[in-house]
């Protein structure tokens, strides 16, 4: 993988589905995170986001698929007006032509799997494993065996599910067994597993004992001052991952005004603490539904990553 500055990944997360939080809809939910049973997507904003990524010199887009695809294997979980597999294939080709490598993301964290519908209430059962296996296989096929497959797996704790109707948390060996299952399915189909690393904040010993090095790590921090918070678990993890030889794609987020410096600070900080051979690149997240009301923030977030990239290359 890339050691040279010019070969880094500069990626942006883009939501095709946003059904990754509550299992019901309420307009008053804090992050507009309620479950929508119909595709909620501004295509105009979608294309604008891709164009902006291209203009800013980004080279990767992580597509959060959720249940916005009418999966051949499990059409029952798809929202109304979900994209057909063919439509998705066309859009992926379009991304590739724009110089953007599309990477799929299906978040299997119990905190972010509302998109799995009834199966999100059957976690760690045989039925669940079958469904997950089918979906991973189908998505990898649709993406023409992508280099990476983002499995999510973040924030699987009860505190983050307080507003949900049904909170589910895998703990101890079960979390690991299920992670190994997902990683195995991704690898079996020829891709490399990629996850959010925040499990390591709470269980560093277990994390470094059990986490395979083959799994690409995205630790994330959305504040602005990494130096100031370097003793906090979420910043320390960048160092710990490096010390333990994991490959990383540090992740920033821009979904609140005032956090404009997050991505540039992340790039500067991580460049110092992660050896270039293990620093695969950077990912910007937005955590906003791809609807017109979020146009300004979403495009600005992409531009901020572009600025950080230019600064890095200088």
């Amino acid at each position: 993988m890339p050691g040279a500055k010019t070969e880094k990944l500069w990626g942006s997360l883009l939501h095709l589905s946003f059904n990754m939080w509550e299992d019901y809809y309420l307009p008053t939910l804090k992050y507009d995170s309620g479950y929508r049973s119909e595709l909620a997507l501004s295509e105009s904003l979608w294309y604008a986001a891709l164009r902006t990524m291209q203009e800013q010199g980004l080279n990767m887009v992580v597509v959060d698929l959720g249940n916005a695809i009418l999966y051949d294997s499990h059409p029952e979980i798809a929202v109304r007006n979900a994209w057909s597999p063919n439509r998705l294939r066309q859009e992926l080709d379009c991304m590739r032509k724009m110089g953007l490598e599309p990477i799929p993301k299906l978040n299997f964290s119990a905190c972010h799997d509302a998109w799995l519908g009834e199966y999100s209430r059957m976690i760690s059962t045989d039925i669940y494993y079958e469904v997950c296996k089918d979906l991973i296989e189908e998505v990898i096929l649709l993406f023409n065996t992508p280099r990476f497959f983002h499995l999510g797996m973040d924030e699987e704790v009860a505190e983050y599910q307080e507003t949900f109707n049904l909170a589910v948390v895998r703990q101890y060996d079960l979390w690991w067994a299920d992670l190994y299952f997902f990683v195995g399915e991704v690898e079996r189909n020829g891709s490399r597993a990629w996850i959010w690393s925040d499990y390591g904040w709470h269980h560093p010993d277990l994390f470094f004992r059990n986490m395979p090095r083959s799994v690409l790590q995205s630790n994330w921090y959305y504040g602005s001052d990494l130096e100031k918070e370097k003793d906090k678990p979420y910043i320390k993890l960048y160092h710990q991952l490096e010390e333990n030889g994991y490959e990383q794609i540090p992740t920033s987020g821009y979904y609140r005004v005032g956090h404009e410096k997050n991505i540039s600070s992340t790039v500067q900080y991580c460049e110092k603490v992660i050896d270039s051979s293990r620093l695969f690149g950077f990912l910007q997240t937005h955590w906003m539904i791809t609807l017109e009301k979020n146009r300004e923030m979403l495009l600005k977030g992409i531009e901020l990553l572009g600025e950080a990239r230019r600064l890095y290359l200088k």
Binding site: E118, R121, S124, T125, E162, L166, R170, Q171, D173
Partner: protein, 352 residues
């Protein structure tokens, strides 16, 4: 049951008392079609375990008593001795925590090895009745205590789960011959109480209520009255009082020694106060004490406290919950619990 009780009470007190000599009242009660199952006296009950898989979904090396065991953990000698002792002490109700210790015809896949056959359970229920002890079933559907449901405990709030719950309630009601009550558990459904589980599930907001209503409906369909642990009220009082049907018997539980609000441990204050909260809001109660916390005073304290703060017509009786598997090693502890309930009953009757 509350309606039946008050109906008979009204019938006997207001309607008949002035016309019929007291001597004849028992005969009238016997002739009343409602009276067949009717127990005029207070309930003096004990919870006993046939099934034991209500906590962890695995077997930990250090705490086997809360671990999942795929085989029946049950000693019939201890059981027989305990029920004999209950009869001897004038106890009149036993809650049998059935769980996966029964070979369910509807769902044999969840039964442990050596689970009782339905016939064996039926025979035992008849024996208990003949001893003057009314058997009441308990299936705990709290996600904190449903390891006994096997794979279905990982399908909570799905259609499949609802079907299984329906089947099990109907089958158990049938085996118990439409018992007066059916204990649904429903306690401690929060993540804190599942901190050491592999798989944590918590129904929240309307989901908990929706599922409770489904379970209540299934029990009532079978002609029984639902009975639950009332601890959900501790932390959700306003919602609880708004949404909990009065038809559901409430067993609040408090296992500490002190019943003085000034000296009670802060973390248990809501538990103690719940008795009064439920009374103020008109719920029928069966207060529950326990010998589990190793104090000899709790059961008597529970009876004294309840007698003081719950109106007689809403105080259906008392329950002792030793929380010990029916095994030889626990014989003394279970007996200790019975002794405490016996002493409390004696005090109650003398006090009256």
């Amino acid at each position: 049951m509350a309606n039946r009780r008050s109906f008979i009470k009204r019938l006997s007190v207001a309607g008949l008392a002035s016309y019929v000599p007291n001597l004849l009242l028992p005969h009238i009660a016997k002739a009343n079609p409602f009276a067949a199952n009717f127990k005029e006296e207070k309930i003096w009950g004990c919870l006993l375990h046939l099934g034991t898989n209500m906590w962890l979904d695995y077997m930990p090396a250090d705490k086997p008593e809360i671990g999942f065991d795929p085989s029946l953990r049950f000693d019939e000698d201890v059981w027989n001795a305990v029920v004999s002792k209950m009869a001897e002490q004038g106890m009149n109700l036993i809650i049998i925590d059935v769980a996966d210790a029964l070979q369910f015809e509807s769902h044999p896949e969840i039964s442990v090895k050596n689970a009782w056959s339905p016939d064996k359970l039926r025979n035992e229920l008849n024996r208990l009745r003949n001893m003057g002890i009314e058997p009441i079933p308990k299936l705990n559907f709290s996600t904190c205590h449903d390891a006994w449901m096997g794979v279905y405990s990982r399908m909570v709030s799905t259609n499949k789960y609802y079907d299984v719950c329906r089947d099990l309630i109907a089958e158990v009601c049938n085996i118990f011959d439409s018992p007066r009550f059916f204990h649904l558990g429903m306690d401690e459904e929060n993540s804190g109480n599942q901190w050491n589980y592999n798989y944590v599930v918590v129904r929240q907001r309307d989901q908990w209520w929706g599922d409770l209503y489904l379970l209540i409906g299934e029990v009532e369909k079978c002609g029984s009255r639902p009975w639950i642990w009332a601890d959900y009220v501790w932390h959700n009082q306003e919602e609880y009082l708004k949404k909990m049907p009065k038809s559901v018997i409430q067993s609040n539980w408090y296992y500490e020694e002190s019943f003085d609000e000034k000296t009670v441990k802060k973390e248990w204050l809501k538990s103690l106060k719940a008795y009064e909260v439920l009374e103020r809001n008109g719920y029928d109660q069966i207060p529950t004490g326990s010998s589990f916390f190793n104090n000899d005073e709790n059961m008597l304290g529970t009876v004294k406290h309840a007698k003081k703060c719950i109106a007689d017509e809403r105080l259906l009786g008392f329950l002792q919950a030793p929380w010990k598997m029916t095994l030889e090693k626990n014989r003394d502890d279970i007996f200790k619990g019975l002794k405490q309930l016996g002493a409390a009953k004696k005090w109650y009757l003398q006090g009256e």
